[in-house]
């Protein structure tokens, strides 16, 4: 199968695959914004005999200017990955560069190039939103009028202009989260890490945050590493996606690639009338359409699978028309990321979530 950018979907599945150790190839000489190779991190946990392996040879490669999603259940290793890539924690082994700088050799340079929105807010509740932004900017060496302008610009942009001079403890959850993102952007980073940015938000605030993240990626051309355990969020925001399970990447590609690599899309058609002669004619007609398989006919309802459902629709319509069974309605259903997760992690997302508790 082919993906839009000409690459192929890399899968490690549950069996270690040699390709899993290598990051995705950079497109045409552009340096990767984030490159991690074979990261291993173990934690000593009280009450357990051996150390817990949070990361078990995780590798990713993120091209600049995109939203890259790390999708996995709680405890899969997403936050550990973010902590390591943002210089907060050190990996036991493996190497990584962020914005072209090595996290091990040049952590100070990496810190200047990145912005981070962690899972926990981290904003000072007693200070006002504006004061939080000003302090954050000062820590990056920004001063005076330039910093004040930047703080006000961000308050405006994140719809906090009215709340800017109020203490953060009076903010709603959505406002706090928007301030967190603003804090991560004060110094105009090259790479922004968003660690589960919508966890704990109500649906309305979540949708607003999704729009904001979409705009960040679209307008500013900044590279975003997004971790999430919401399939819907990854599907909606990420241009490329890596599925994390038990500290490893088990699959990587665009959300569509990953879904397309499953059994393909389902194409459902409803015929205008009952098939002219019998169902056999319908089978035969559809069987001649390239890429169509798993055809089922149930009265007026016809279903089939295709690699690319949308592309197959015209041919399906034409074939059924020729067979004397014009179509009244047709729908294409893409497989969900839940299916993808099940396929690559070997267990359903909900099971994995449950197992981590």
């Amino acid at each position: 199968m082919t993906s839009p950018n000409g690459g192929t979907v890399r899968t490690a599945a549950t069996v270690p695959h040699p390709a899993a150790a290598r990051p995705a190839p950079a497109a045409a000489g552009r340096p990767l914004a984030i490159e991690a190779v074979d990261l291993v991190k173990t934690y000593q946990v009280k009450g357990r005999s051996g150390p817990v392996r949070a990361l078990d040879g995780l590798s990713i490669g993120v091209e600049p200017g995109i939203v890259f999603g790390l999708l996995g259940p709680n405890g899969a290793g997403k936050s550990t990955t973010v902590k390591i890539l943002t210089t907060l924690a050190a990996a036991d082994s493996g190497r990584a560069t962020v914005a072209g700088r090595s996290i091990a050799a040049d952590p100070a340079l990496v810190r200047r190039a990145i912005g981070v929105v962690a899972q926990r807010s981290g904003a000072d509740p007693v200070a006002t939103g504006r004061e939080n932004l000003l302090l954050q900017g000062r820590l990056y060496g920004m001063r005076g009028a330039e910093l004040a302008r930047r703080a006000d610009e961000l308050l405006d942009r994140f719809d906090l202009a009215d709340a800017g001079r109020r203490q953060v403890k009076t903010y709603s959850g959505g406002m706090q989260r928007r301030l967190d993102v603003a804090l991560g952007l004060v110094h105009r980073p090259e790479v922004l890490f968003l660690d589960e940015p919508t966890t704990g938000l109500d649906p309305e605030a979540r949708t607003a945050m999704w729009d904001e993240i979409g705009r960040l990626a679209g307008d500013d051309g900044l590279t975003i590493l997004l971790t999430t355990h919401y399939l819907e969020e990854a599907d909606r925001l990420a241009a490329r996606l890596a599925i994390v399970d038990r500290g490893r990447i088990v699959a990587e590609g665009t959300p569509d690639d990953l879904k397309g690599e499953l059994h393909g899309d389902a194409v459902h058609a409803v015929l205008a009338g009952t098939p002219a002669a019998d169902a056999l004619g319908v089978y035969e007609a559809l069987g001649r359409v390239p890429g169509i398989r798993e055809i089922t006919v149930d009265g007026r309802r016809v279903s089939a699978r295709a690699d690319d459902g949308a592309a197959a629709v015209p041919a399906v319509l034409a074939a059924l028309d020729q067979a004397g069974s014009p179509v009244a309605a047709v729908t294409v259903a893409r497989p969900s990321l839940d299916d993808v997760y099940l396929r690559y992690a070997g267990r359903s997302f909900a099971d994995a979530e449950g197992a981590s508790r």
């Binding site: 200047r112 981290g122 904003a123 820590l139 990056y140 060496g141 804090l183 307008d219």
Partner: protein, 285 residues
């Protein structure tokens, strides 16, 4: 190096390459500036919590006038050696307040860890030492201010300070150093155990014994012998001995130097320990 994807934002983008921003400033100045920003933040938090502020200021007043009235007759005991109990009590209350105000510092640190604030700062290019230095500066400054207020209240209540300004100054400095000791230990404890209950337990366990096993309310000469021995190893007592010696009409400079020296030394050790714990915290993140 050239990820040419910097946002094409209207304002000039400060390249995060270290070529601009703090990279251009000398390290020391930048470190000092950062310490100041972080200290400012702590002062502001303090000032914005009026209830906390008022309690911190009122509690010493209660100690001063409650104990002053209760134990007024104690000076008549043979061998007490002070003119009025209030004179005797002022350094005691100052030192006790320095301990009780600073021993809760770990709670704040714990809160910052839990809220993610500490991690947020650690991801910025801020100097690691600026974070801890700000704690020390903010704690010793608030202790100094608190001490000055108690000195002033005592003076209004009729206390005498025969040692003059120099004696009082030494008292304030040594109280701040003692505050630093307890603040730094408390911070280290907070980062190490990450449990409020442990800090509360240890503090309530320590405050009164440490105060009463010192010359805060009663001169050592009137203590049972074993208490005198214990008091000799009590940093609260070191600070008091320093302050009392410096505040006397004829200061015992040897006592000031030795007790003051030990207090400062222990303060340096406590700060070093809190920095070490801070580093191990960073590893445990």
């Amino acid at each position: 190096m050239s990820t040419s994807t910097l946002p094409a934002a209207p304002a000039p983008a400060p390249a995060p390459t270290g070529a601009r921003g703090s990279g251009a400033r000398p390290r020391l100045t930048e470190g000092a500036a950062q310490t100041w920003f972080m200290t400012q933040r702590q002062f502001m938090a303090f000032a914005r919590q009026p209830a906390y502020l008022i309690i911190t200021l009122i509690q010493p007043v209660i100690w001063l006038f409650l104990f002053g009235a209760l134990f007024r007759k104690v000076v008549e005991l043979p061998g007490f050696g002070a003119g009025s109990y209030l004179d005797y009590l002022v350094p005691g209350v100052i030192v006790m307040s320095a301990v009780s105000a600073n021993m809760w510092a770990g709670m704040g640190t714990l809160e910052e860890i839990e809220r993610g604030t500490l991690n947020r700062f650690l991801i910025t290019p801020v100097h690691r030492s600026a974070l801890m230095n700000a704690n020390v500066v903010a704690q010793s400054a608030t202790t100094a201010i608190q001490s000055l207020i108690i000195i002033l209240l005592g003076w209004i209540g009729g206390a005498h300070y025969p040692g003059g300004v120099l004696g009082l100054l030494i008292l304030v400095v040594v109280a701040s150093a003692l505050g630093t000791i307890f603040g730094a230990f408390s911070n280290a404890l907070g980062m190490l155990v990450r449990q409020r209950e442990s800090i509360i337990g240890i503090n309530t366990f320590l405050l009164l014994p440490l105060t009463f096993l010192s010359s805060a309310f009663m001169p050592p000469t009137l203590m049972p012998h074993w208490m005198q021995v214990v008091a000799r190893f009590n940093p609260v007592n070191w600070a008091l001995e320093t302050g009392r010696a410096a505040m006397a009409a004829h200061p015992d400079w040897w006592s000031v130097l030795s007790h003051g020296g030990w207090t400062l030394l222990l303060a340096a050790f406590a700060v070093w320990l809190s920095l070490r714990t801070f580093r191990s915290y960073q590893k445990s993140v």
